[in-house]
Symmetry: C2
Subunit: 462 residues, 2 copies
C-alpha cells in the first residue's frame, strides 16, 4: 500500500492499485448501497472523490464520515467516469481518523469573511483560505528564488531594535519589566530592563541591511515588521512581512528596474505555480483579477517624476479629498487615480520632495534639484503603493546635514554614519509589503484575510 | 562596458574585454610603475586581482585605493599568469568610489571575534564573516527548497502572541504603554494596552502551525523566536530563527525519518553550494569540521529510547556533573557523551518521561508506557540538541487531562483544543534552531558569531 496526497492522486499518470488517501471530508453523498466522499488534504484546491461500497470494511461508520471528519480510505485509483476529474478512488476500506460533531462550524453553507476570522484556526480548511495559504507559500518561495538566482544573499536583520528606521515611529516596546513596574528615575526604566536600554520591534530592516549590502553587494531581507498604529482599517495590520532588497552600486534607475522585474517575476511565478488557486479568486472574489494581473506583467511600467505627477493630478479635474501641491504626500486617492485612471498601468513616481521623506534618501543636488530626493514609489491598480524605495545618501556630510534638518540625534547612528566614512558607495533598495502583494494577487481587500493569524488593535486571538 | 561581479569574473569562460569591477580593496601592493589591487565584492570568498598601470586614468589617486576603499576598475579580463587564479583584470581606469581613512578598523592584521562583534556593521567585510553570511543565506534557501520540493507549505505564524507554547516562559512583553505607566488596577495594564490583553514575543510557532497542518497536511514555519533568558552563554541569544515543520498523519517514527533526511539534506546542500566558504572554516576555525560533517551525512542516525539512553549513561563510568535517572532531563554533557563518545554519530533519543515534557506531546499509553511521551531529540556531535520534536497529542480527553496535570488554564487554548474536536488526526513536528545548524556547519562556537546583529542581555547595538 502506498500513501498518496490528493494532488499526486489527481495527477497520476495511470491507474494505481492499493493506495491510501488521508484527508478531511468536504462532503458526502449517500446513494443506494454506496457513498461518495469528497476528500481534501490541502495539497491542492481540488478534492479527490472516493466511492465506498456498503460492503467495504469500515462502511458501518459511514455516518461518521461527515463534513469535517478526518478519514483514511484505502482502495484503487481508477479512471473516473464523471466529469471534471481524471481519477477517482474506488475505496475498499474506510477508517474514521477523527470525527467532526454536528457543531463543526464549516458546514457546507457559505460563511462571511468576518465570521471566518473568528475561527482562524479552522478557516484554512475552506477552499478560499487554503488557496490563500498555498498562494502565500508559493509567493514566498518565488521571492527567495528570484533573489537567489540573481546572486543576492538573504540577511536576517534583527527584529528587536534600538533604532527607529522611519525617524518617527509608532513602535511596540519590548521589555521584561512587569506591567506597572516603577523605577526611581525615568532613566532606570531602561537601565534595569533586559537590554539596558529602550528596545522596540523593528519597522524595517533597511538600516541593518545596508552594512551587508556594503560588504556583499546584493542582499535582501524577508521578515516580520511591526507598526503600533491604532487604526482599524482593511489595509493596516500591526504585524506584517516585508521584503527589502539592498544593493551596492545601484542608483535610482537600477532600483526601479529591479522593482519592476521583481514585481513581474512574482506575479508570473504565482500565476504559474498556483493557477488553480488564483482561478478561485478570479471566479469568486474579483472578476477582473486576471486582467488586472495581466495588465501588470505584460507591459512596461510608467515612470513619472513627482513634479510631473503633481501637475497631472492638478490638471485632472478630479475632486480629491486632499488637495495636491509640491510638498504634499500623495494619498491613496491620488495614487489610484494615477495608476488606474490616468496611466492605466503600474506607475513608478520618483524624485519626491525631501521635506516628506526620511533622512537616509539621497538628495538630488547633483541633478540640480536639491529640493527632491532619489525616492521612488511603485503604484499599482487597486492597491496604490506596493513598493517604496530610494537611493540612499552615501555622502557623509550630506547625510549628517539631513539628520540635523530632521532633528535626529546622531549618536545612536554612529555605525550607520561609519558606513559613509569607510569605503562608502552608492547604494539603493526598496521595501515590498508582502501582504499588499498577496492582496494584489488574490483580489482580497482586507489584509486580515491574507495573514494566517492577523494582529490588529485589540485582536490577539490564537 | 559590462559590469561583472567578482564571482562571475573568476568563473568566466574566456577572456572579456571592457568590463567593470566594483568592490572593496582588500589589499594593495605597489610595484615599480604599477599596482596590484585585491578587490572583493562579497559575491564570493575570493578576490579578483586587478593590475593598474601608472599611466591609467585615475592612477594618480592610487594612494586612496587602500584597504577598505570602494573602487571601480575598468579593464580587460585576461588569463592570469599568477597561481591560484584563472583570471585577472588588466585595469585601464581606476575610480575611487569611497575612501577608507587610516582609522578604518579592518586593517590587514587578524582581529579577535570579540572585537569584531563591536563593529558588527563592518565585520561582513572580513573573509570569515562574509563567508558566514553567505553560508547562512545558502542554508536558508536550502531549507525552503527542501520543503517546497516535498509539498510543504510555508506558514508565517505570528510573532506577537497571547499564548506561551512551552507553558513556562521567559518571554519578552510587547506593549505600547510608556515605561512607568501606572494603572488604577492591575487588570487595566492589559485592557488599556494595544491588544487589550497581555502580549508576548513568540517562543515557537508550533501551536499556530498545527491548525495549518490539520488543513494543508504538510506545513513549516521559518521565522524569528525569542527567549528572555538572562544568561550570557555562547549558546544563548535572545532572538534566533527557528524552522518548524508540522505534518498531519505523521507518527513519531515518520517524524524521525524527516528530521534525519532534513538534517542530511541541509548539510549536503550547504557543502555543495558553499564549498569555498566552508573550506575557510575547516582551515581556520575547526580542523575536524569536514570529518564531523561527513560523519553526519554518510551514515544512518542512531535511534535510542530515553530509557535505554539513561542505562547507557549510568553504565558509562563517566563522571557527570548531573546524575541521571529516569525522569531527569538530559544535560549537554550527557547528550554529547551519547553522540560523541558512545555512538560516535548523530543519535535520536525518543520517548521521554512525560514529567519533563510539555503538555502537547502524545502520551505513549497505547504503547503500554504511559509514563513516557512520543518526544524526540536529535543530538549531534559538538552541538548536542539540534532538533527537538514530538508526535502531538491528538486525543481531546488525554490532552485536557495533560493540561490539568500541568496546571494550565485551558480557556486561552480553546482553539487548540477544538483542533482535537473537529476532524482530529495524528500529527507530529519538530523544531530546528537555525543558529545551531550554522554553528554545526561552520564550527563556530559562539552563537553571536552566526547572527548578523546578535541580541543578548544588555546588548542591543546596531
Amino acid at each position: 500500500m502506498i500513501d498518496l496526497t490528493v494532488k499526486d492522486a489527481l495527477n497520476a499518470e495511470g491507474p494505481l492499485e492499493n493506495v491510501r488517501i488521508r484527508g478531511w471530508v468536504r462532503t458526502r453523498r449517500d446513494s443506494k448501497g454506496f457513498s461518495f466522499l469528497e476528500i481534501n488534504d490541502g495539497s491542492c484546491l481540488k478534492n479527490l472523490q472516493a466511492i465506498l461500497d456498503a460492503d467495504a470494511p469500515g462502511y458501518a461508520s459511514i455516518e461518521d464520515a461527515n463534513t469535517g471528519a478526518a478519514v483514511a480510505v484505502i482502495g484503487d485509483l481508477v479512471e473516473s467516469p464523471g466529469k471534471g476529474q481524471a481519477w477517482e478512488l474506488k475505496g475498499r476500506e474506510l477508517s474514521i481518523v477523527g470525527t467532526a460533531p454536528e457543531d463543526y462550524p464549516l458546514q457546507k453553507k457559505r460563511h462571511s469573511d468576518e465570521y471566518l476570522r473568528t475561527i482562524a484556526h479552522l478557516r484554512p480548511r475552506t477552499n478560499k483560505y487554503s488557496a490563500m495559504a498555498r498562494i502565500r507559500s508559493e509567493a514566498a518561495f518565488a521571492v527567495h528564488r528570484f533573489f537567489h538566482n540573481r546572486g543576492f544573499h538573504y540577511v536576517h536583520t534583527p527584529i528587536i531594535t534600538g533604532s527607529d528606521c522611519e525617524g518617527a515611529g509608532e513602535m511596540f516596546r519590548v521589555t521584561t519589566l512587569p506591567p506597572g513596574y516603577t523605577a526611581d528615575k525615568d532613566s532606570d526604566y531602561h537601565t534595569e530592563d533586559f537590554f539596558g536600554r529602550a528596545a522596540n520591534l523593528t519597522v524595517s530592516g533597511q538600516l541593518e541591511a545596508e552594512p551587508y549590502a556594503l560588504a556583499l553587494s546584493k542582499v535582501y531581507t524577508f521578515g516580520p515588521t511591526f507598526r503600533a498604529e491604532n487604526s482599524n482599517t482593511p489595509r493596516h495590520a500591526a504585524e506584517f512581512w516585508m521584503i527589502e532588497p539592498e544593493m551596492a552600486f545601484y542608483d535610482l534607475s537600477m532600483n526601479m528596474d529591479l522593482a519592476e522585474e521583481f514585481t513581474k517575476d512574482l506575479l508570473t511565478s504565482v500565476l504559474d505555480a498556483s493557477a488553480d488557486d488564483i482561478e478561485l479568486f478570479a471566479r469568486f472574489v474579483d472578476k477582473e483579477l486576471m486582467s488586472t494581473l495581466e495588465n501588470i506583467v505584460s507591459q512596461p511600467f510608467e515612470r513619472v517624476p513627482y513634479r510631473e505627477a503633481v501637475e497631472i493630478l492638478k490638471q485632472s479635474k478630479q475632486t480629491f479629498d486632499y488637495p495636491v501641491e509640491f510638498g504634499t504626500d500623495l494619498q491613496t486617492e491620488h495614487e489610484r487615480y494615477l495608476t488606474e485612471t490616468h496611466f492605466r498601468r503600474p506607475v513608478i513616481v520618483h524624485d519626491y520632495p525631501r521635506s516628506i521623506k526620511p533622512f537616509y534618501m539621497r538628495v538630488n543636488d547633483d541633478a540640480g534639484d536639491p529640493e527632491t530626493v532619489a525616492a521612488m514609489d511603485l503604484l499599482v491598480p487597486r492597491i496604490g503603493e506596493l513598493i517604496g524605495g530610494s537611493q540612499r545618501e552615501e555622502r557623509l556630510d550630506v547625510l549628517e546635514a539631513r539628520m540635523d534638518e530632521c532633528s535626529l540625534d546622531k549618536a545612536p547612528y554612529w555605525w550607520y554614519l561609519e558606513l559613509r566614512k569607510f569605503g562608502s558607495a552608492p547604494h539603493a533598495g526598496f521595501g515590498l509589503g508582502f501582504e499588499r502583494l498577496l492582496m494584489l494577487v488574490t483580489g482580497i481587500t482586507n489584509i486580515r484575510d491574507v495573514i494566517a493569524f492577523p494582529r490588529t488593535p485589540r485582536h490577539l486571538d490564537f
